[in-house]
Symmetry: D2
Subunit: 296 residues, 4 copies
């Protein structure tokens, strides 16, 4: 019997890069949170404490900030691909890398209908994400792009049922044909390509998710999520798979009869915990193998 | 020498009330976080453990939810006034109350330019707030309304300087005539009235804050905040005082010369801690006394 | 009518200072979060954008770190007094300052009963706090020390009642003579002195709070808090006033009768929101005036 | 080409169960956060919105609370196994389940050396965890137990180096032979058994992790983590694999020379972001296959 080193990676997490493009008076802002992780033969670092193969996480940080100047950051997927390939191609011991980027959106401040040149206000709550994984060197190199969003909070005040469910001795839930349904979406989709108009794709997918959440008459959160995912795949030919994770943020109808008031779906208590949690993947049956795309 | 009971209050904090108006197919949503606190002669509860003067916090919660049905919640200031006066007027031992409400904004989901009837997405990050304090009964009763917002995150990528400051032996900061300035605003304003078109006032104040942040050429965050507050007072005659609390979210220019790159205000590291913290009040010199408006 | 600058202060918040004493192989660690705020005549900075009276927050940060070397940090109250007096005494435009410090406790890692010389593990959840305020210069200078703790989470599984309370039309709560009582304590006490053995005082007050929470048969959280505060004042002659803020973390007995099981106070749901919130001050009737001790 | 449903699961997350054993005056408390997830043939629920195979998450919640009375909760691994097997064995459409439990530790309040019968204070910051996965029914049923801890924050003030590392054009880090090393450990270990004295194992592993962190002279966090994991495997024969995830909480030596002060590893700034992140697995080369043990 032996004890051996298993899978490992290391990097610099959460580099908070803000990149301003200011070639003209109309500035552009890109607000990113970049995390790098490197894979390779780091046995000596773990077993012998020998760092000669180890590019410091501090260097990774420096690289991220330097590349924010020398490379294009406009599309986070491309920026992540550039960083990921740099580490694998240019740093000898590195055989794989994983770059994760979050992007925070800003709107121009609007004054009397005019959008300001260099003053901004943070938009919305949801965050755009990407994870790029590059594995192998030279001709064998593979790359995967998994993009997504998180913290997109939605609610529909009708058009949602939950009935006809399985019952056992612990079932006390009443059936309902009209309830509030609310969730905070975390969605990630795996592309079958490594070059695309990522922003357009992102905008379309976000719009599709919202549209289908709104328009599907819901019989359960499972069905709603499946419909959302399916429609994304129908419309986005470069997406091979989509995964949705959605807490059911329970809105309980408050019993007001005790106080002589009726409450036909008007006053709710929004609960914190526990919450339902629904996790669904939808994919093409002929899509490419995910490889290491989903590895953490 | 004696040991005595000092100021005290008790209530139910963070009642998460969601109110749907559904008289027509076009639903309206109001998403609130309501906290109540009652003041009065509660000596016996503290000293003797006698609850006969104590309206349970559970009852306060029930009241909040029942009033969300029987009363109007459209304007959080009015809803808070209604609740605050109810507790003081109708519950005998209560001589004062403080109602704090946060409101979370939702947008209708937009599909091909149409805004949906009953499907919503959480808007923005900033939260609208109010604190209503009612003190005393009968003809002596007084009321104060302090409204505000929090988590309004703004950034300007130029138009901000910081120079000419005081120096001592610990001063190492370089002067700058062009920096990024960013903050997350917490603002509260005290009204001199207890009846108003609160929503219009809120919308105007929020717009003024953003406008002045954008347009004032900043020589320091202090000056920017003062200008923002002053303009609000100039435009809002019902506002007696405004208080701004603003972390200076430091965006440090990254030294890229080490890597042969120049960086004229293009690549920044957005830091977490420590942060500057600037707190400013601006007020009318002939405004009404604040009374208990600002008490916690 | 005029619009004027009101109360204001500025500083550097949350300097995360870790100080290691390593004169001997047995190292000592002090892990602090230090926030400074300066008051004075800063009208020009606000109104004219003139910084010549303004010591930068960056300088305040440097001062905190330099003082962590040159001054003693062992007692956070003394370290805060030293910093607060430095800013008022040595920086000409500064007429008042407020230093807030949080201290995070560490234990030595224990191996076979031996406590390690230089390896530590974070202790507990609760945080020790102090706020020192210095106002005025020269012979008129005043100072106040308000120390405390936060996040001290306690629970008693019996010995707590809540009955005999006031009822109105919204009261549905059942009386109980045996419930779980739990809270997360935030406590602050104002000293009547500016020199003391602060650590001993802190340890004794923390022990007293825990002891009284445990041993007082509770008829309500109000009474428990009052007894806790009163006993602290009885035992600590240098404490003029104590303020306790305590969420009632509700533990609801789960109805298991539906499933043929009795539940005599054995299975509870620990709820998040809403929560009761009880705020109580206890003070000496002949104590010194609080002055600016409690100002934020 | 077709679009198909992929892997999916659903459940009730974060049931906050507090279980008091009160058969004698000396009460015992178990404070748990239980999350359930069910797997099986739920195609109809997703594709057709048909719930007849779907046991509501509300029922899962009821089951968790009922089992907290009818079953033993003392060892979270056993309680999770009981719940997981119940869902798979007793609910016909369910073919797999995943139960995750966090346990929060409490100490008895100590008064003059005596530990109180029914009054408790929350211990420490770290949380004990387990994830139990059951897959398949009848003779083919498999089960896996992955236990762990999170938020165990440690620091050593010497005995840590980082030197001899790989350099590229972005490397600016200075080598050091004496630095502060600090991390917040998330550790999970996979058992090769499904019956054990889990608590003893947990206590021993936690003690081993602390001991090795303290005593290993560190040449890098990678090596420290590897040594910690290896020693756990050497001592715990029922553990097949251990995974450690550790942020490097950077403590930067503050430059005080600018102020005429030396700083030989005495005053540090504890930074928030970015942070190094090191992830390491250590395993037996002859251990059992992990199966679905690590699936989210």
């Amino acid at each position: 019997m032996g004890i051996v080193l298993g899978p490992n990676q290391y990097g610099k997490a959460e580099n908070r890069v803000v990149r301003i493009y200011r070639e003209t008076p109309r500035h552009e802002i890109h607000d990113l949170n970049v995390s790098s992780a490197l894979r390779g033969d780091f046995d000596d670092a773990h077993i012998a404490g020998d760092q000669k193969q180890v590019l410091p996480t501090d260097t990774q940080k420096n690289t991220v900030f330097a590349f924010a100047k020398s490379e294009e950051v406009d599309q986070i997927e491309d920026f992540a691909l550039t960083l990921a390939r740099h580490f694998v191609d240019d740093i000898e011991p590195v055989t794989g890398s994983r770059i994760e980027i979050e992007e925070y959106a800003w709107d121009r401040i609007e004054i009397d209908g005019d959008r300001h040149d260099h003053s901004f206000v943070r938009r919305g709550r949801d965050v755009r994400t990407t994870v790029v994984t590059v594995d192998g060197t030279g001709a064998d190199q593979q790359a995967w792009v998994v993009s997504g969003l998180r913290d997109l909070v939605v609610l529909k005040s009708t058009g949602s049922e939950f009935a006809g469910f399985l019952r056992d001795e612990f079932t006390t839930l009443a059936e309902t044909h009209d309830r509030v349904m609310s969730t905070s979406l975390t969605v990630r989709w795996r592309y079958s390509v490594v070059a695309a108009d990522w922003r357009t794709s992102y905008d379309e997918i976000r719009a599709t998710l919202l549209e289908r959440f709104a328009t599907v008459h819901s019989l359960a959160l499972q069905q709603t999520l499946y419909e959302m995912g399916k429609t994304v795949l129908e419309r986005q030919h470069d997406v091979a798979e989509i995964r949705l994770s959605a807490p059911n943020i329970h809105h309980f109808v408050v019993d007001l009869e005790r106080f002589g008031l009726d409450n036909p779906g008007e006053v709710f208590h929004a609960a914190d915990r526990p919450y339902g949690l629904i996790q669904v993947a939808v994919l093409r049956d002929d899509g490419p193998d995910p490889g290491r795309a989903w590895e953490g």
